[in-house]
Each structure stands twice: as structure tokens, then as C-alpha cells.
Amino acid sequence: MTQRFTQKLLRFYIPLLLFLVFLLFPFYWMLVTTFKSDVELYNLSLNPFYVYTWSLTNIKHLLFDTPFLRWLFNTLLVSVVSAFISLATSLLAAYGIQRIRFRGSGLMGIAIFFCYLVPPTILFIPLATMVFKLKIWDSLVSLSIIYPTFLIPFCTWLLMGYFKSIPKELEECAMMDGASRLWVFFKVIIPLSLPGIVSAGIFAFTLSWNEYLYALTFISSSLKKTISVGLVTELVRGDVYHWGPLMAGALLGSVPVALIYSFFVEYYVAGMTGALKE
């Protein structure tokens, strides 16, 4: 009994603990920094892992002296819209490629995958030209339609894998019973791939939420920025880092994503494993 426990401790709990410490330390750092006053933060003689007097100054500064709430709203808007566009498109694309074996469907799948492989650092130059020509520079519209360029390939591949796990016979049976393909898609495929759709949606949402490069390139007015860009451009002035508000911004910015993950974690796992349990 005790020996088994020791074994489990050595093989499972201790590695798990190390892993957790390694992963969670940055978040801990973020949390303590947020609630420290500047005096305490920059006093090197104090224990840096501990908050001596809790202070809300950083959060107050962030909320009332910067357009943080506006950024939060912008980020939310862009993420929701681009995730929605990407999901709607990917669902149709993935289904088409996976199930309607049209000429070149395989090639199409690979082509979409290649889109995903082109790094944004190369893409943003031609995209900038397009954004200019479309006269959507410095507007959230530009981000909402540019994010899907990398979200759609990703979601399509994820959903293709998921659709593959749904037995073809389900569709065939429905079609023999008199259902049209569209009907089958909405009444059989979509309900069955809900876990896949949810995880694709979460992914799309988080990727847009955290996106930095395009947001930095295409948005210049302070009020139109997203959190990731806003914090860095407004709270780092030259070589002065406002660590307190920066960490507060990072903390508040991660909360919505963390909430979404915790709500949908079960779907998310099922979506990743692609398992359709009968």
C-alpha cells in the first residue's frame, strides 16, 4: 500500500507538481505584480513572491486612465465576429472536402493547409496593401476579415478530422430516408459534431484574442486597439515599463479566455480526441 503510494508519488504527483509550477509561475507573477503598489514592486529588498500590502492602484490606473475597457470591447467584438465568420466558412468547407468527393477535393484540403503554413510576418505586407485599397485601414473591420485568413485553415482541418469520425452510414441512411444533403448537414452532422465545433470556435476565439502582429500593423488610433496591442503601446513608454498596470491588463485580459475554457472544457477535450461515442 505505502509502496504503491510512493511509486505513484514519484512517477505521477511529483512530475505533475513540477510541471504545474513551471506552467503556472508566470501567472502567479502576473497576479502578485498586479496587486502590489509601485513602492513595494520596486523595492528590491522585499520578498518578490509575496504581497505585503494589497493595492488596487494598478487596476484603477488601468481602468480609468487608459482606454482599457474600450480595448476589451474591441477585442471581444473582433474575436467573436472573426470566430463566427471562420466557423461558418470552415463548417461548409470541411464538410465539402471530407464528404462530397468532388474533383480536386483532396487537393483543396492540402491547399487550405498550406495557407496555414505561411507565416503572418510574410503575409502582413501584401495584406496591408489590400487593407489600404479596401479603405478599411485603422478599423476593426480589417481585423475581423483578416483573422479568418489564418483561422479558416485551422478550423477547417480540425473539423475535417472530426467529420471523418462520424460514420458515413448515418448520412447515407438519412438520405435513403428522404433527407436532402443540407438537411442531413443541419440535423445530423452539426448536432453530432458539436464538440468539434465548440473546440474549433474556442480556438478561433483565443487565436484572435491573442493576435498581435496584424492588430499592431493595421490599427493606429488608440481607441481602436485590441488589448494585446493597446497594453504594449500605451503602457510601455520608450524604455519605461509600467509593470503594475501592464500586469493588471494581462490579468484582466486573460480572465475571459480562462472562463470560456473552463465552461467548455469537456467539449474541448472531446473535440480534440474526435471521439463520437454511440
Binding site: 452510414e169 438520405m175 435513403m176 438537411w183 448536432p191 453530432l192
Partner: protein, 363 residues
């Protein structure tokens, strides 16, 4: 009237020919079974009848209608799939009523029909459950119910029992057969299990490599296989095959291989006279071998017992005759021990002869 007629149907996947020169007439209300080893094209043929697979060449008629270009939903056929294909997110009731709902049938009528069908299949108490809360056999019934409730012209079954355990399979076989008699609809049933085919089919189509080998009633296939493949595929344990040659002259022919010498039955002498002093393949069913006391009788030979497998009603003996290994299915009372000698008697009238090159039966 809903006969199903296939004329010279062919199916190619790219360059591979999956089904070729398939011509068959399934009569109205007939229970037709397609049987063959996996990959022989039987399921593909079924799917072509259902309209799930396009045909490369040929014609398919259901009733009097040419259905080559008619989509599955307008063919008025129902199919039961091997993996049941139940919708996991719907209750049993919704699964069964799915097709009727699509047909815009009034709700009352759907309820009446689903309940009636559930009654027949003994699944009334499960109507509110989801498929995952059911056992394999119960799911199978729901899948059947979903097909039956629609009352289509033709039922198609794609190995519906292969996921069930042996005992349940036997029970479902009986029930399906009863159901067929009750429904009086044309049914086409695909299986790789020859016993299933023999027990259920009015007629059987034996297929191999995309080609029909033989079409006939179960006993016809058993007693008069047209070639070596059908002979070996139908019947259990499998027919014994021995390379032998024909000796003698006139009406006094014998088939000889090493120590084995059996006289050719009179009804076969005419056909076999062309094979005098030539090689043939002799086929003997294990059931046509029995243990006997003396070598004086006709059709007897001595063999060495290698393995004894009692199965209750019968004993399967693996014996050696010269260089040949044979299986004999002998009476359960037979005293046989490994490494002993035994005298076996072959039922000469039931010997099968195949041409060694074409493997066709020699008539």
C-alpha cells in the same frame, strides 16, 4: 410488384473493377442473399441498388422503373447497415420516426406506426432511450425497426448481424426470416457467412472477385456447385479437394490418387470419360465420409487419424490418406483415436469433379 433487375452492371473504382457483368433478377417478395469473401463486391452491388454508389455501366430496375440516375431517396428502398447507423443524438422513437417525419406524415400516424413496429420487434419499452443506452441486440432491432416502419418496396441488409454474438445472431436470423414472411417485401441480404446465407435465402448469389459464381437455391449450391470456389465456400467443414486422375475405360472408370481409389458413379462416367488418364480435382464433402468396418465395400479406403474433434452431434476427424489431409465428419459414436487407422467410406454419388485448369465442375 417490386422485382429488382440488374443487367450487366459494372462498377469501377478508378481502374479497379469491383463488380463486373452482374446480371440478376430478384423476384418480387424473394429473399435473396449475396454471399462471398470480403472484397468480393457484394456490398458494392447492394450499395448500387440503394443508389449510394453510382454504376459505371449496365442498368438497374426496381419494379418496372430504371433507377440508374434516380437518387436513393426516390428509390423507395430501406437499408439496414452493419454498424446500425443509428443517430446517437436522437431517441429510439425519433430514430424510427425519422423517415416518416421527412415524408411529412401526420404526427398521429407516425406514432401509431412506430409503436406498432416497436411492438413487433419487442422494443416498445426502449422508445424514449438514446441508442447508447441499448445493448447490441437492441440497437440491431431499432435499426431493423427504422427500416420496417417505412414499408418500402425493397429491403436491403448489409451484414446486419455480423456485430452480434453467435447466440443472438442465430435468434435474429430466425426473427428476420419470420419478419420477411410477415412483411412480404423483396429483400436483398449481404453476408459473408455461408450458414446465414444457407438458412435465410430463398436463393443465394455466390460472388468472388466481383463476379457472380453461381445463383441458386441453398441446396442446389450445396449439392451442385458449378465450380471449386462455390464447392469450398458453401458447406462447413469445407469440402476436401484432392488432385487425382481418372483411370479405366468405358463405364468402368475410377478416380485414383496414391492409395485412394474410388470408382466413378455411373451418372458421372459420361462426362469424365473425356478425362481418361488426365488429372481432375476430386471434391468430397466431410459429411459424405463415414466410418465403416470393412474394406470389402465399395468406396472404402484406409486412413490414419491425426486429430479428433468432437462437436457433439458429430466428430470431425482429420485424417491422412497417403499425402492428403482430409476432414471427415463421422458419427458421434465412432471410436477414433489419434495415430490409429480407420476405414472410411465415401458416398460415391456425391463426389464432385472439377477441371484442374478452369476449376469448373465437370458435368
Amino acid at each position: 410488384m417490386a422485382q429488382v433487375i440488374l443487367q450487366d452492371v459494372q462498377k469501377k473504382f478508378g481502374k479497379d473493377i469491383a463488380v463486373d457483368r452482374f446480371s440478376l433478377e430478384v423476384k418480387d417478395r424473394e429473399f435473396m442473399v449475396f454471399v462471398g469473401p470480403s472484397g468480393c463486391g457484394k456490398t458494392t452491388t447492394l450499395r448500387m441498388i440503394a443508389g449510394l454508389e453510382e454504376i459505371t455501366a449496365g442498368d438497374i430496375y426496381i419494379g418496372d422503373r430504371l433507377v440508374n440516375r434516380i437518387p436513393p431517396k426516390e428509390r423507395d428502398v430501406a437499408m439496414v447497415f452493419q454498424n446500425y447507423a443509428l443517430y446517437p443524438h436522437m431517441s429510439v422513437f425519433d430514430n424510427m420516426g425519422f423517415g416518416l417525419k421527412l415524408k411529412k406524415m401526420p404526427k398521429k400516424e407516425i406514432e401509431r406506426r412506430v409503436h406498432q413496429t416497436a411492438e413487433i420487434l419487442g422494443i416498445s419499452q426502449f422508445l424514449d432511450r438514446k441508442p447508447k443506452a441499448l445493448s447490441g441486440g437492441q440497437r440491431q432491432r431499432v435499426a431493423l425497426g427504422r427500416a420496417i416502419v417505412r414499408v418500402p418496396q425493397v429491403y436491403l441488409f448489409d451484414e446486419p448481424l455480423s456485430n452480434l454474438d453467435a447466440k443472438l445472431r442465430m435468434q435474429m436470423r430466425l426473427e428476420l426470416k419470420k419478419l420477411h414472411e410477415r412483411m412480404e417485401r423483396t429483400s436483398i441480404y449481404v453476408t459473408h457467412d455461408q450458414i446465414e446465407a444457407m438458412t435465410m435465402g430463398d436463393r443465394i448469389v455466390v460472388m468472388k472477385n466481383g463476379l457472380i459464381q453461381q445463383v441458386g437455391e441453398p441446396l442446389e449450391l450445396f449439392f451442385m456447385p458449378t465450380n471449386r470456389f462455390v464447392g469450398s465456400f458453401i458447406g462447413s467443414p469445407t469440402m476436401n479437394f484432392i488432385r487425382a486422375h481418372i483411370e479405366g475405360a468405358g463405364s468402368n472408370l475410377a478416380v485414383v490418387s496414391e492409395e485412394l481409389r474410388l470408382s466413378v458413379p455411373p451418372k458421372k462416367t459420361k462426362a469424365l470419360s473425356a478425362y481418361q488418364n488426365r488429372e481432375v480435382i476430386l471434391g468430397i464433402r466431410p459429411d459424405d465420409l463415414s466410418a465403416t468396418g470393412s474394406l470389402e465395400e465399395g468406396g472404402t479406403f484406409q486412413a490414419d487419424v491425426a486429430v479428433v474433434q468432437p462437436v457433439g452431434t458429430q466428430i470431425y476427424l482429420e485424417v491422412k490418406v497417403g499425402g492428403h489431409d482430409l476432414i471427415a465428419s463421422v458419427d458421434a459414436q465412432t471410436h477414433a483415436r489419434p495415430h490409429q487407422k480407420i476405414i472410411l467410406k465415401a458416398r460415391l454419388d456425391n463426389l464432385h469433379f472439377f477441371d484442374p485448369a478452369s476449376e469448373q465442375t465437370i458435368y
